[in-house]
């Protein structure tokens, strides 16, 4: 793994350590492609949800169901976590492991709170007779939201694993791409949420 020439460097580390090796560049590009692929995955699920959201089988409709204040709060949390994760990357670029770990730690903490809120929300819905199997609306709702939630969960575990690695190995041209890619992932999950918030929740509020 040859470290390529660099013009600027911070404390012995290239300025953008995640792109310093071909391996790192490959990883980041490949991950972008993966995110592009995920776009059509979520698009399919959103389309399915839009097609099926009217099929409530006499269960509660989106308008009756959704708990907007809570969802708005969850949105705020997730947006904030996007900011904290990018601040972590800033720390990485400055070669400050502690800052990186701190911000990443806050990020997954926020992620966990988001998940907690979501689980609580789903339990409420289930009480009102809106479950994965109650109707086509329920199925498509939980598939979309569940897939997103699953992504958040995976992200939390993944970043946790990376933090352990970061502890052990520090910021190197080998670990930097991993941090970077994880933060890309986190932003992407956020982007998806923006759409879910708009298409599922906000549009669900329009009777």
């Amino acid at each position: 793994m040859r470290i390529e020439e660099q013009t600027a460097s911070v404390a012995g580390l290239p300025a953008e350590p995640e792109k310093a090796t071909l391996e790192g560049k490959n990883k980041i590009l490949g991950f972008w492609f993966f995110l592009a692929a995920e776009t059509t995955l979520f698009a399919t699920m959103i389309g399915t949800y839009l097609a099926l959201k009217g099929e409530t089988m006499n269960g509660p409709t989106p308008y009756e169901l959704f708990k907007m204040p809570m969802v708005a709060f969850a949105t705020l949390i997730l947006l904030t976590s996007s900011l904290t994760s990018v601040l972590g990357i800033m720390g990485m670029h400055a070669n400050q492991l502690k800052k990186l770990l701190q911000w990443f730690g806050i990020t997954i903490l926020l992620g966990a709170v988001f998940l907690g809120l979501e689980v609580y929300e789903f339990m409420e819905y289930a009480h009102e007779g809106h479950t994965f199997t109650s109707s086509a609306f329920g199925s498509s709702f939980y598939l979309l939201l569940g897939t997103h939630g699953g992504h958040v969960l995976f992200g939390v575990l993944w970043i946790l694993g990376l933090m352990i690695q970061g502890r052990k190995k520090g910021i190197t041209v080998h670990t930097a791409p991993k941090f970077y890619v994880a933060s890309l992932y986190w932003h992407f999950v956020d982007v998806v949420w923006i759409f879910i918030f708009t298409v599922v929740y906000l549009m669900g509020m329009i009777p």
Binding site: E4, L29, T40, L76, L79, F195
Partner: protein, 101 residues
């Protein structure tokens, strides 16, 4: 694996600035709030609410891509074109599935 046609670009000196992130974060919160308000309150004409909130969401996506995710139109042309293609195909498919059933 040194075969590599894209030698690292000289760093343009464009350093990360926390301020930029915080600003775009604030903007995103604002946009979300506007969307929320558009739906909750009667401030936008009926037929315009959905287009408006979709546009607001789209703006946020681009904010994320180009600030938080550090995309650069020139340096990452390949990446940008893939993301745009993915979004385009995704929108076509989602709209078709939603209306053609």
């Amino acid at each position: 694996m040194e075969a590599n046609t894209q030698p690292t670009q000289a760093q343009t000196g464009k350093q990360d600035s926390g301020l930029k992130y915080v600003a775009s974060f604030a903007l995103m919160i604002l946009l979300t709030a506007v969307a929320f308000a558009a739906v909750a309150m009667n401030i936008v004409p009926q037929g315009w609410v959905i287009p408006l909130i979709l546009v607001l969401a789209a703006v946020q996506v681009f904010l994320q891509l180009f600030t938080f995710m550090h995309l650069d139109l020139k340096k990452d042309a390949v990446t940008v074109s893939f993301m745009v293609t993915g979004l385009f195909i995704g929108v076509v498919c989602a709209v078709a599935v939603a209306i053609l059933v």
